[in-house]
Symmetry: D2
């Protein structure tokens, strides 16, 4: 079977981009497996994700593409590989468990190199799956010290492609976020931007909403304000107390988070102006 490459292009829009790119694919005898483009007319930005198959050196392909693309273009030619993923969680097991079951079934094209938590509660679950579990307690230390310990632990896990916050319930500082910029995926248990912050189900219950939801997003410096990757909702009614909303909401949370992780592992997400383009 011939090798496949994912070509990711993100640049200023100009006439002829599809032609120039597909010209290289054609003359290099590459087969287009799938192809998606999008032009953000507001910002005059062009996004393209192609999966091509054929015999080529990816560095060569990259070089040839760069020659026809506008200056300052972002370009990646990726030979699919298992990405390294770290999961972080606190006490709840539903989102973490959903990822573990999928991982065990071979559904996720990645290597989970460890689970990091501020409690040891989830260790029995994680250890079933033969994945290293690291308890980095926040007790008896301030936020900065705790984060330094976290960062130290993470740095021991080697190169990390994505950190998935599978209901990690502590706020990360900008230092942490900058260290792993564009690599942290969080699940927020509300339909953002509604109910930012703590206890969104209680907030939702107090507000009397008829729908609750969950949002998977990249983490940036503003809590719950990073680029949204995926969202979904379920209907609720007056008979749902906030604990029942929380219980039913967990099903949405875990599905949405796993979906976002899968999109990231397949290099399907572009981020631009705090929004995502997803192919």
């Amino acid at each position: 079977m011939t090798k496949q490459y994912r070509v990711l292009i993100d640049c200023n829009d100009e006439k002829g981009l599809v032609y120039k790119v597909s010209s290289i694919f054609f003359h290099r005898n590459l087969n287009i497996i799938s192809n998606n483009e999008f032009v953000d007319k507001t910002h005059n930005k062009f996004f393209m994700r192609s999966v091509v198959a054929g015999e080529i050196d990816p560095a060569t392909l990259k070089q040839e593409l760069l020659e026809v693309l506008p200056k300052n273009a972002n370009l990646d030619v990726i030979a699919p590989r298992k990405k390294n993923v770290v999961l972080m969680a606190t006490k709840e097991s539903h989102a973490l468990g959903d990822i573990l079951i999928r991982y065990e079934a071979g559904e996720l094209d990645c290597r989970i190199v460890g689970v990091v938590s501020n409690y040891d509660l989830l260790e029995p679950l994680v250890s079933k799956f033969n994945i290293p579990y690291y308890t980095v307690s926040h007790e008896g230390c301030d936020r900065d010290e705790h984060e330094n310990r976290l960062l130290a632990q993470l740095s021991e896990l080697g190169e990390i492609d994505y950190i998935v916050l599978a209901k990690y319930m502590r706020i990360l500082t900008s230092k942490f976020v900058q260290t792993y910029e564009d690599k942290i995926i969080n699940i927020h248990h509300s339909f953002l931007p509604a109910f930012i912050g703590a206890n969104p189900y209680k907030q939702a219950y107090e507000r009397g909403v008829k729908i609750i939801g969950a949002t998977a997003h990249f983490v940036n410096n503003n809590l719950d304000e990073g680029p949204i990757i995926a969202q979904d909702v379920i209907h609720v009614n007056h008979a749902h107390g906030w604990e029942e909303m929380q219980r039913q909401g967990r099903d949405v949370e875990k599905i949405v988070l796993s979906k976002a992780l899968k999109l990231a592992l397949e290099d399907r997400i572009f981020v631009h102006t705090n929004k995502t383009i997803i192919f």
Copy 2:
């Protein structure tokens, strides 16, 4: 066919309420057509909506029920009748048109006594349905003066059960709201409490959400913060500009608003602590 009555009870919860109420129904030989109860344990409140059929004077039934209910109980015994509804709109026709088509088909158990707008744009549509149209322009007058004119117009339309804001795009003052307390139903073009205020589709687009929605709610003094009656959403993606979100969102708006109106006309909505209980 025997007559039907809607019995609506809203009182402090205490043991025996279902027994006491159903005892009166039984001994008065009333048939229970449908029966719904809910106890809000947080506030110790009991809500009940029964539809009963039989031969009885509603005043008598009300008196007997009051004798067994806790003090300060809210009680209604309603012989279904066509309610008087006024529609208010500005420029967009989708929500207004949806109600008109349903009305024409006999789907709505009400009498639409008029449409009031600050523009004359929708008059051609409304006049097709032989419903009086009143243009009360806001031009050349301040908010208070405009509202006084609106209130004067409305008062000429006789007793009003519900005012439906079918995309009426001006903010109402508390004077107006208090005049028609608990009688004004609005459609907000977002999934509240996200994107309160103006241009929610633009806000949603800027935020990069993957779902947009609409919320029908009673209007109180705080813009977009009244009790929510119904909500729904649709999925969107990066390819949707805000105008496209707006266009697709209209379908959600009109369905949600018509649904809320129908619930109100059937006396299915209780309001308590800024939330709705809907049977």
Copy 3:
């Protein structure tokens, strides 16, 4: 403003198609407004819809494209124009009314040249919108004779791009269907392929489903088995009798049908092996 053209390509897949097509666009100085491709690997079929803007004679563009496409390619270069649409209905007004309100608001890029029905019941509604209404009664004549009358009436309405069956409740013969091949869009009031045939809401009620739906599809010779364009559903429960399912289902029907019509008017639908590819 430069003119826009919709380029629709449907042909056997082979290497270089995107390159060859975009090359013509580029050298003809056409700007790609939007571009979508899909390869059906099972059938080795390539589908492409491009919207391009620029100064060109569409016949010339078509000729140039044909030269680079595989033999037997289907190719259209369409200068957007208002299509001619005929609506057909029987007794229910919700789907028809939804289209009329959208039409009145300018939302549908078409010309509704008439409404044809086997009853005169909907004439009062349609005449509000100044659209000709033709009653072609089926009483006192057999199916063939009735269809001959229908076909005679339709042929008087000039060239027809689409016939929309907005709850037209009689089965069409293959003669009728072949006369307007690929031009008839129907709304079936169930989630096809469940509940083919008559009274789907009764069937759904009897089966005890927890979801009901609607399906917009092109009509072919097998009742309810043509290519599906759009579907949607709503949740129901044991308390919904079939009439209530029918009432709530109407909201799904009308939204789904209007959505399908809009897709057709924008030339977004390809049909292949009884399936639709929708860009």
Copy 4:
């Protein structure tokens, strides 16, 4: 804390049932925690589920209720207890894994006494959770013999309240079904009654549907035709091959099945005329 009992009534409808039942609750000083009623007017059937709290001997309560209910009433007074559940699966782990993660988290009020499969593939997963795994291979034996082995294995597991077919991919004979009548919950990977039988995702792909779904239902003698408990769907498009439909469909399958199991464990499901009433 006082003890709670679930009272389940299913009988012919007649006037005064709510009164008579609530009268006993009141005079026995029982507090109504929740109360739901439904009358199936087509079949003149009354269904009621009450949760009551107080000091009473459940046998006494049952006797008193029987005295006021119509003859042939079905009545249960249940002191909540952990039910015994057996899971059956074949090769796929998603539905099984979802139940195991919930079970581990204490979300399911039951005792999983074992997992039975016709393969040993899922043993490594199940054994992580310290639940007995029984491989009952179907190889080298005919259907009857295989089922006899299954039944023998199941009978060794003690009293079973529910058998959950978490993607058990073999058809059960009526002998098996009758042995565990009303106790077998299956997840079918389609939106029933569409795509009954084998390979529903392939069937759905061939038919070109725009929505796929899953159905949890009780099993009766007709394959996939038992009473439906829960259903849900997701949208798909032309770009989804059947394998992708299958992959995405698994998320719906597992959530719907776990939801159905939870409803059963909480005694919320009545079955009548091949339909479910769910409170």
